[in-house]
Amino acid sequence: MEFNLSEEQIDIQKAAREFAQGEFDPDEASDYDRNGQFPLKILKKACHLGFIGVHFPNRYGGQDLGLLENILVVEEFCRQHSGIGVALGLSDFGSEMILRFGSEDQKKRYLPPIAKGESVSSLAYMEEDQTDGFSFFSTLAIRSGDGYLINGKKIFVVNGTLSGSMIVLCQLNKARSEDQVALIVEKNGDKPVLSMMGGQIGMRMVPMVSLTYNDIKVPQGNLIGEEGEGRSQFVNFLNEMRIEAAAMGVGIAQGAFDLALTYARQRVQFGQKIASFEAIRNKLADMVTRIEIARSLTYKAAWDFDRNGGNILLNYMAKMVSAETAFEVADDAVHIFGGYGYIVENQIEHFYRDARMVNVFGESGQTQRLLIADRIIGKI
């Protein structure tokens, strides 16, 4: 057993923390949040210092490191500001589909611009009326000439307004439900019709869009892997993504906790610092304990992913615990601030909103419990 981070990992964590502390301006962040605007300027700086795509190999602009190193960065970013952290964390959303399964040519074309901040990546998977996981998509890819024609509609597409090229998950013809393909729709080719999904309670710097594909043509060379592999690639991607989302939860919880602790040590009521009241002390103790649990589980899941390719049960657990912890801790943090906590200017309420949305991003805890149960119970 070895619970210490390596020196390199500690350096990365420290560098990410210092970058976030130096570059994430609270007023600027509130503007991005209010306007539903992606923090492109900050992303460029982060990319310049190599914080995005740390898990990409050097030759694609990355640092040749693993998921654990990637999530250390994501955690620190979310800790400093939940909104900016989530946005930067999702700036390479879906790129792992190409990183893990793409051809050499695809990797060379798509990954370096993401690591450089020249392109923000995206993956369109959700659809309307999709209540049972992603076993079937109604968006169809039909073979046509030397490529495919896509028809259908995707919703809650991350980075849809910014994305250069975008990966779209489709059902192949009308074949078996497992017959899915992941296709890259390029920014220079046919464009789907974009519409905004409307204001969000959280993750506002990552505006969600819906995309309608009407006979969108994609060349054969934009198929990731082989036909029929879309589903397994996506399952693998979700595994990695859950761990990253878990790290967002840990960072959000830690950030909210940091502010609440500072506030509790300063705020005087009844002639005492409120941190001297047991009701507040109990809360702070619970918060920090929950964060430690969430972090340990998240790091373990990331370690396992890097070492053994990932354990799905651990991933579900890490995302569930971390996202729920983020929300509970942010809730307690707002509470410790009292009325001040509800005012935007005091920089705590966004943790509450962002935590709630990260909580249902991917799957909600409700779904995860049932998925965990499926795994541990098996057929009965």
């Binding site: 209540t131 959280g202 009844f270 009701a279 009292g338 509800y342 249902v360 805890g365």
Partner: protein
């Protein structure tokens, strides 16, 4: 024992439910988005006699009771909580304080327009350094001849920004005794008095239609006769009407929780229509069962507190139970229902996103959960 509502109570509840469904709910999203106050809705509420329910006819009231008032607050809040909060502050707190402690002249001058809904009242207790610690206030009022001269500030003042807000009832230190003890008194300050200014409107997480401001008093002079009640009992008076306010916040939260359940039932039955029947699963139906149970408990305890008040009995414990339970419950319910919606619940066009963001507020206002527990514990331990 009798758990049935009287005919009049039922009539008021039905009237408010109909009004909330037909008039308020369709406007709620717009109110939250634009932050604009629906003056036309206030006028309609006034013409239904809602603001004056618990006051006598001679003061423009409806001769009703506090049970009716709170049934009304629940139903209105089911449509939109900022309007429920308006009733809380105007009727349960400001109107109630003038009715309970004011002189006949003060009632004629200020209670009647509040009860008739022509004017809106505000209530100022909190200051930057006096939150839960209400006695730590710094605002002062000095008697100079026939006038009080007020200096200081109050914050998080609900409704002060409204065009038809008429008065703010505040606490201030009025004198220092020889022992060093300060006397805290309650004063009625009409909006528009020179030296009274509104600060910037707060940018809040939600609850946008409610115009909340910080207010400043800079040599603000009011006539001596605007002192409300006993000069020595200002804080006690102020806190005693907050006791009624606690029942109101519980009723608001119950209405909010009920709105969440309404949403959950519509959404889940629709979502599962073409899939396995909802009843074949347990996760969501069990949650719905819990939610319905918690709402009924919230409602029962706030109604008991209101009934005790109507009987002229002590309702301290019940008011605190109601405020604590109903607000924590509403927050949990809103969050659970948002979960059922998944990402859709995070889109502001769906009511549940609004319910979620606003639910947290009620755990904090009019005494945080900790203050409720503190009072309950003190009462238990004697």
């Amino acid at each position: 024992m009798d758990f049935d509502l009287t005919c009049e109570q039922k009539r008021i509840r039905e009237m408010c439910r109909k009004f909330a469904t037909e008039v308020i709910a369709p406007r709620a999203e717009e109110m939250e988005r634009t932050g604009e106050y629906p003056y036309d809705i206030i006028t309609q509420m006034a013409s239904l006699g809602i603001m004056g329910i618990p006051f006598p006819k001679e003061y423009g009231g409806g001769e009703g009771d506090w049970v009716s008032m709170h049934l009304c607050i629940e139903e209105i809040s089911r449509g939109d909580v900022s309007l429920g909060a308006l009733l809380d502050v105007t009727t349960s707190v400001a109107g109630n304080e003038i009715y309970s402690f004011g002189t006949e002249e003060q009632k004629q001058k200020w209670l009647i327009p509040l009860a008739q809904g022509k004017e809106i009242g505000a209530f100022g207790l909190t200051e930057p350094d006096a939150g839960s610690d209400t006695a730590a206030l710094k605002t002062t009022a000095a008697l100079e001849g026939e006038e009080w001269v007020i200096n200081g500030s109050k914050q998080f003042i609900t409704n002060t920004g409204l065009d038809n807000a008429s008065i703010i009832i505040i606490t201030a230190k009025t004198r220092v005794e020889q022992s060093g003890r300060t006397t805290i008194s309650t004063l009625i300050v009409p909006k528009g008095t020179p030296g009274f200014t509104l600060g910037e409107r707060y940018e809040k997480m939600a609850f946008h239609a409610s115009a909340t401001h910080e207010v400043f008093f800079d040599d603000c002079r009011i006539p001596k006769g605007y002192l409300l009640g006993d000069i020595y009992e200002g804080l006690a008076q102020h806190l005693s009407v907050l006791q009624t306010g606690r029942i109101s916040v519980a009723a608001i939260s119950t209405g909010l929780a009920q709105a969440c359940l309404d949403e959950a039932l519509t959404y889940t039955t629709k979502k599962y229509q073409f899939r396995q029947s909802l009843l074949e699963s347990q996760t969501i139906p069990f949650k719905l069962a819990d939610i319905a149970m918690m709402i009924e408990l919230s409602r029962t305890i706030y109604l008991k507190a209101a009934w005790l008040k109507d009987q002229g009995r002590d309702y301290t414990l019940e008011a605190h139970f109601a405020k604590l339970f109903a607000t924590e419950t509403a927050k949990k319910i809103a969050s659970d229902v948002l979960n059922m919606y998944g990402l859709f619940g995070c889109l502001e066009k769906y009511p549940i996103s609004r319910y979620f963001k606003v639910a947290k507020l009620f755990e904090i206002v009019e005494g945080t959960s900790e203050m409720q527990r503190l009072v309950i514990a003190r009462k238990l331990l004697g």
